[in-house]
Symmetry: C2
Subunit: 359 residues, 2 copies
């Protein structure tokens, strides 16, 4: 069993390590020869437009998948024409455009954040009037970990925000203004769907961010409104079925009592975004679920039976950002499981995570 993976970062690395266990060989593809998956498995190095390199990736593969959502559609589609590729290209395309993504989520009963398309400064002004302040201006495409977005707190921020993201000097392209949601916490739901249409969901997770980067995840526990959760789960199941989705899908949701501008469909959970791949908020599953998200993604795309998504013990996951602290001090914490990604240190970069089990 050979699985080609577009992308060779830590998610590809953890897919490869899961593959070792179940006898699936993972081969990653990345433009960066230093991509950290290359330390643990075969890495094909090439640009996404390099068909010869993509050809080396898919050679002998049973299936192709991807480990980040900004894989160029053309590259994924090129693979999909030649080898079975999951999840569906449509999911990848939707995840790459905030407007399309919100339309897709809404179509399946996952109420998105109130938002408006913005393609000019006057449109931005109109959107601010309609949605109120504060609000967040985001590029429709290419944003990641808090990049490509600006918070507007007062009308005077409009020209600055437009200059930063919308002007020719900025990142350009279409923008979206999102109404500010006074959320109590961010929840994420991870689901996996098999080729046979079976869907399994992991227990909901509560996420904490700093500077737009996930720093900590914990079990969401009993506090989430069960009816809202059921609606969200049904929405995800519907969305996956609608796309013929195979693999792991993550959906981030805001839990909120503030219903300003929000329709009735979403209940107290507002859909923020989706990731058509294994997800940072699911890393805990390696240490605290019966079958982790990486193995389950591989099982799904290979057409194998899905593994149990049951939580087997209490846990807390923390990202290591910028650098790995002194290992001796880190490992002294009882029940701590360290996962290093083998990446060079860099401010803001996710270089590892820890899961503390049995907390």
């Amino acid at each position: 069993m050979i699985v080609g993976v577009l992308g060779g970062g830590q998610l590809g690395r953890m897919l490869a390590l899961a593959g070792r266990r179940i006898g699936a060989q993972v081969r990653c593809f990345d433009p960066d020869a230093q991509a950290c998956a290359g330390q643990v498995t075969e890495l094909v190095v090439g640009n996404y437009s390099d068909k010869a390199a993509l050809g080396r990736l898919i050679d002998g593969c049973d299936v192709v998948t991807y480990e980040f959502e900004n894989v160029p559609i053309e590259a994924a589609a090129w693979c999909a024409e030649r080898v079975e590729t999951h999840p569906a290209i449509a999911a990848l395309a939707a995840a790459q455009d905030r407007i399309e993504e919100k339309a897709l989520l809404r179509a399946h009963g996952l109420e998105p954040v109130p938002h408006m398309l913005v393609e000019s400064e006057p449109q931005l002004r109109e959107a601010v009037e309609a949605l109120g302040l504060p609000a967040v201006l985001k590029t429709c495409r290419g944003g990641y970990d808090g990049k490509g977005q600006v918070v507007l707190r007062e009308a005077a921020d409009i020209p600055t925000a437009w200059a930063e993201l919308g002007s020719p000097a900025g990142e350009g392209g279409r923008l979206v203004l999102e109404g500010f949601i006074a959320f109590s916490r961010e929840i994420s739901l991870l689901a996996v769907r098999g080729k046979d249409g079976q869907v399994r969901l992991y227990d909901p997770v509560r996420n904490e961010h700093e500077g737009g980067i996930l720093v900590r995840s914990r079990p969401a526990g009993e506090a989430v409104d069960p009816a809202s959760l059921d609606r969200a789960r049904a929405g995800i199941t519907s969305l996956m079925a609608g796309l013929g989705y195979v693999g792991v899908l993550a959906v981030e949701l805001f839990e909120t009592a503030d219903r300003r501008g929000v329709g009735e469909g979403g209940g107290g959970l507002i859909a923020n975004e989706m990731a058509p791949r294994v997800h940072n908020s699911g890393h805990w599953t390696i240490d605290a679920a019966a079958c982790d998200q990486f193995e389950n993604h591989l099982r799904a795309v290979l057409g194998l039976p899905l593994g149990s998504t049951r939580t087997i013990c209490n846990w807390e996951m923390r990202n290591l950002i910028g650098s790995v602290p002194a290992v001796g001090a880190l490992l002294a914490e009882e029940g701590l499981r360290l996962h290093c990604y083998g990446k060079a240190e860099k401010a803001g970069r996710k270089v590892g995570h820890v899961t503390v089990v049995g907390v």
Copy 2:
């Protein structure tokens, strides 16, 4: 952090995979270029007498360890003269000789199986008279997974057994006759000792064998006599301290009500043998302990804080022997975690294991 490992089988492979997580690079050494650890990490290929190859193993290593107990002492000692090497060579030497091993176990209050040294057919006859039948004749050195041993059921078996193991045509060398223990079950205890002398024990495990090969392990549960267990734990702690042992140690014990020929020291638990390394009966720890035996062994030999040995969920471990069954059927079992070793199929060979969690 680079850890050199003498041996490149599945234990070396799982040490390497654990090392990936905590940022420790594992480099294995094996005479067989196809040794399965080589699929997941650097493998130095050479005979144990090849000093140039051993030099490549230890080059840049922080510490050297071993993953099977039949590593030639000379090779381990050669490494130990040049690089910190754990566990102690004395432990390796004792584990390679059934007579020395039993003396060591007894010295620390771990009562061994009743036994006598046998170096001739008349001595075998005397030993049979002293220990009674049935009894098991074993080579002192080199036996593994049921190889190098013969069961004697009646006096007529004496010449045959001698011919098989003791005669010049047989494996030769010193033999030991072990009295037959009518044991109700085999228990194993896994301990890890850090450089600071801290010892942590995993929960006791019950093992089932077929044809001398471990086929299944399960939690021993509450059934083991607590006083006997405490004595065994104290014995292991004493043994490790006595040897200045660093790393994981496994001790196999028979649980028995039959005290024939057995001293008072061992209570209802009779020590069968020890393995100065990570052990098959500890594979469950990957999926069901807070910190698994492989990571804990690396933590120990690297002088890092030991991880929690706490069991986090119920489990059952089964070896895959000879071949890996159809993966699709295997993975359909709820809660099953598959661990393939990437080894060619061969009768009697351990090619993988599964742990079923939450059973």
